[in-house]
Amino acid sequence: MINMRLNGRVLVVLAIPLLAGIAACGKDFLVEDPKNIITAENLYTNLAGFDAGLNAIYAQVRREHQGRSGTNELFQEPFILGTDIGYANYVSTTERIFNEWGIRNNSTADVYNDLWLWLYQIINASNTIVGRAENPAIAWSATDKNRVLGEARLLRAWAYRHLVYSFGPVPLMLEESTGDNIRYDWQRTPVAEIRAQMEQDLLFAEANLPLVPPNDGRVGKAVAEHYLAELYLAMGDPVKADTMASRVINSGVYSLVTARYGVKRSQPGVPFMDQFENGNVDRSQGNTEVLWAFLYAKGIPGGGASIMRRYWANRYYNNKGVAVSEENGGRGIGRMTPTRWSLGIYEPTDDRGSYFAIRKFYLYNDSLNLPAGKKLGDTLKTRILARQKINDALWPTTRKWDYTDPTDINGDEGYKDEPYLRLADTYLLLAEAQLKEGRPDLAAPTINIVRARSNASAITAADVTLDFILDERAREFMGEEERRETLIRTGTLLPRIRAYNDTASKTIVERDTIFPIPQSVIDANTGRVMEQNPGY
């Protein structure tokens, strides 16, 4: 009945899927082979891989001058707003916290969650490098390895520095995170223990980093010493702080900018502000003072974008007849603003309080909307009122971050390099150490080095108090200094806010001197109750 030819064909037809089936049975059929994904396994195999890991951390650190979400929510805000030197003029949700405190300052606020995550991202990336550098299969010199470790450990210490100042005791993480070591029963490590780790990390960095890093965007020995000086001050060891700060000052590599230089040297200006000009920031551009800068470039991957000008420049264009222009400082949204007090602490001769450093007037430049009696080129003066107010388009601000992309006047992003750590800071840390060592006679000349550069009058040992040094820091580092952290280190946050910040003085309470542990951290710790800071 069934003929053989038919059977033969059936067999042939049946054989085809048999073969297809075997193809799907290959040993690798179910093995994932990602084609364009880098993993820790295939990245950390050589020096270039480790440097790529470090580059990503630098890009993360740079976010302090970038937005938490796009061009919004400047990461620097919590370090400056709601202190003696900064308040929010134009407010959104986050800024209101630091103007109003109270119910708004609570553990569910996004800013704390973002701050925490950002810093631990840096820590995890550093931990990954530190852990994987010990892989014996990597062929590299001891110098290269220790330099990589030094940078990673310094950046880890940098992140813990922010964490401890912001939140107090936090979990001390020193190992690479993996999906298999997740715990839900974290406890907060005491600050002293974290600082001991930071000290070890920074000392290692000091011993292994080059005196001058390959570019200003990376950290070298001086940065390690600077942060060691600050750490020792925080730990109550002014002698060691003195030693470390002095090493930076006496390194022979860095010196204060005392004379005009760079791109605008032939235009009116002051030496102090030259180091903030686009084209002047880097060491290779003539800046002798910068220890560490944030680098940017327009239009390339990794180029980044600062929103410092966007956040610090005021909304002067809300004044009729004054439009956004490069001369007027570029387009700002006035979220961050110097306090009334901080604008009034300059001697008339002080370059740091001059028109070149602080916006004193805008130029009328909008012919369509000129107010009666004004003509193009007239000036609209800023002014300081008896009390700070919000939504004030005539409040002065710092000019350090002024920058306008000439091809995009209204753009939000900034692409000029920015000084992040300057030698002047090291001088004032030294002065603080000297004061703590009971040597105001040494502190005064140290402070005077900084003051003299800006034509401020010389002071004497009798003038040197902690408050004076803090005032001096306010004069020198408006818009730069992580002010809140300085005040926490010196234990002066609450009194100085009450004395100097009209906006926040009435509502700030003891609780607000430390940020709440983010609710996301407490909630995720399902295996143990993580203690919240008092009062929250």
Binding site: A20, P34, I38, P171, I182, G303, Y317, T526
Partner: protein, 1016 residues
Amino acid sequence: MRAPLSAAARAQFRTTIRCSVFATTNLPDLMSGTRLRSLGRLVASLLVAAPAALVAQQPADAQANVSGVVLNDANGAPIPGVAIAVKGTSRGAMTSDDGRFNIIVGSLQDTLVARRIGFAQVTVPLDGRSTVEIRLHATAVALSEVVTVGYGTQKRSDITGAVGSLSAEKIAEKPTANVTQALEGQMAGVNVTTTGAGAESQMSIRIRGRASITASASPLVIVDGLPYEGSLSEIDPNDIASLEVLKDASSTAIYGSRAANGVILVTTRRGKAGGPPRITYSSYAGTQHIANLPRPMSGAEFAQFKCDRLSGGTNCATVLTATEQANVDAGTYTDWLGLATRTGDQMQHNLSVSGSQGGASYYVGGSYLDANGVARGDDFKRYLLRGNLDIKLRDWLTLGTSTNLVYSDRSGMADDFSAAYFMNPLTNAYDANGNLTLYPWSEDVFWGNPLANSLVVDDNTTKRIFSSNYALVTIPWVKGLTYRLNVGGDVARNEVGNFWGRNTQTGFSNGGQALTSTSARTNWTAENILRYTRTFGPHSIDFTGLFSAEGQNYTVSSLRTDGLPNDVLTYHQPGTALFYFPDESVTERRLRSTMARANYNYNDRYLATVTERRDCASVFTAGNKCALFPAIAAGWNISNEAFYPFRNWVNLLKLRTSYGSSGNQGITPYSTLPQMDSYPYVNNGATAPGYRPISLGQSNLRWETTNALDAGLDFGIRNDRVRGTIDVYSRWTRDLLLNQLIPPQYGVTHIVNNVGRTKNTGAELELSSLNARVRGVEWRSDFNISYNRNRIVSLLSNGNDRGNQWFIGMPIDVNYGYKFDGIFQDAAEIAASAQKTAKPGDVRILDANGDGKIDANDQTFIGSTEPKYIAGFTNSLTWKGVQLSAQLQSVQGITRSNDLMGSNLVQAGVRRNTIPHEYWTPENHTNSYPANNETSNPLSVPFYEDASFIRLRDVTLAWNLPDAYTSRIGADRLKVYLTGRNLWTKTGWHGLDPELDAQRSIPLEKTYVGGLTVTF
């Protein structure tokens, strides 16, 4: 001598053997586990015990022998499986394959009763005859339908699982551009939600609630046997022969690893053997109108609002910018939403030919769809060609294909509704020359023109081939044994070209910006199916074995360029750009499966199904790649029993039950690897490559598994005048794959993890009835309602996980946060509250834990985001050829935050518009909305509303023209119809639409369509 094998070599050897054997049959693998042995025993006992029980009923005292044949009265074909009973006795017989039967009766004056599901019961007095011919009349009852199930078809009456079905006729009743729309409100347990409106609406389908909340809570869609990805809008509803929804574990288990969220089977039309060519042309055209659009404030309202908010209503002149003031002075303002919308239109033409020629039958269809939504620029065109062929080459060999060629054109960028909603009305859309302004508000250049999308060059086309092909071999040596090879591919390529010229904000600030991207998807499937079907007397056996492999590859490459020399060449000038941002991604996944299923049917009374599937997926780590998914089901056609007494009343009664498991591998490929993200820095103006950790390696990730128990009852009353189905079920999901928040100090916020167990319980009812037939008017109703309750049973942590908002005993997806508790009216109320520093008019936040202060511990549940009940109710009136039908759909028990109500959305300084609200004022002590200032809602407490609704989804008036008319134009059939969609909605929701995800998006449309279908 046998050489000793190492353990590894033995394992290797076993794998090889298995694989090669499985290429044709997978029995040994499936039978290898002890679990299988026990299942096997169960089948065996069913096979043996059931008939044994029945044999006992056979009569012993024979008096006369009657033989006969049962034929279909429509075509004279013999009907097998008809139950013949002797009235008043327990004697019975069943017709054989050729419709014949023999029965022993007490006397030749007895009466025979013949019945079979799908046919009207017939009573035949013998009147002395010993041979009879019985003719049965088919009733158009669902239970006689053949329905598609996984890897095959079954008679409805033989099905043991919970399977919903939608016929081509039902689909054709309403004109839809997207097949998903046809499912709306039609089946119990199937919740179709329009998550985004527009020319090509976005819809989500949830079957029996939500078991998992990974990306893939969506059901698996199988088109003509092949897994289908992406929007169902790339299938022409006209081409569909039937839609089946597999709901319970028994019917879904054969799809194993991806079936935990249910399965939708789409079967396209095929040519019928033997018929003449049949040509069908159908067409419709219609208009679309906005169903509901909450109105933002007008210019005058906005000016007053801004003045009230910023200066307490006193000093209005100081708060407005020059542009705003100029518009106020001129009494003009811009209705941005009005400018962004239009009357939409849509039309479709479809032409198909089906028939057969020689040994080949064919269905060829082509269609053109052109839809232009109510949002300006929201356009969708679809060109589609389908060829379905079946060729019987030899007695033992049939080849076939279902191939769909699609060209979709989504070019055109819809206006940005969010921007239009928010845009200040006191600004200018057009300049003096009638061109769109670059910056409508010159004092606040953050805002570009919300209408600028109309200036963007947007070319967006997709070409897709979806082809499912088979070879069917009837194995000649064994009767009833067939082998089927399915090989299919889905190849799609999407190309997008965008250009933002200098007349747009994006283009202006970047010196022109272009974006081109190409994404290519290549999915392939190969399946070997061995099927054995035999009937031995009253026993029917249907065995299916499968070995299959699948692969998916998805590649996206894109290039953004900034700084282009001119606006003329748009995106066709990448070589001249100043800045380049290229990107690429490749993802691949693989799946290998074996499956076996046995169906057993005794005498159309007792039904059993046993299934086992083993899936191995590439996305899991070694050791966790494979999982087993067994299922078992049984059915009892009670009304086919000879002893069944209520035939006159309840003509059909069938019990079904099933238990089994299915899985979910819905995680993205490479989820288990410690991935790094490109995160470069800069060095001397050049990119310095950088990579940072973004996900954590996971070595233990496992399949998510759902075990489900289903019990169902199918019934027909009064000769199927009322037909219905009741199902109750429980589904237990374990190793739930969730994207879990972990302590953020890991530097990574989420990890995909097997985090716990959930349970879904639910009940479903479907009813169809012929309510009345009076003077030629027929009134029919179809009603379905389903209830589903979802809750978390356990989590990784011992208790609740507040960070992830997972709470034991609560649904997976809840609203959780600070709760609005009214408005502070006076100082006394404030003093007694947890917000001592509040002012009258401020939002009162619920002090949920009553501790006298407001903090994170006061966050609380504010309702579920998943509905409790969904229901559909369709009524139709037919008179001669005229039919009027209306469908109501109801979704109840959802709570959502209505973003349009947000009180701080206008931003400080009032830079955005909002809808008018009734604010608290010292004169108007409302308790529902705070005072109009920036501090009245300090924690920005959202406003939750009940998003339940009842909607008149569809009203259709159709007329099938009488033959007298159709014959004049030589047509067999001509139908014309008018349809309205979304004509009426009842809801307490105050946003754009309770169904839509975003409330500042393209609004839902009311659609009016007229169309015709003519068949030659």
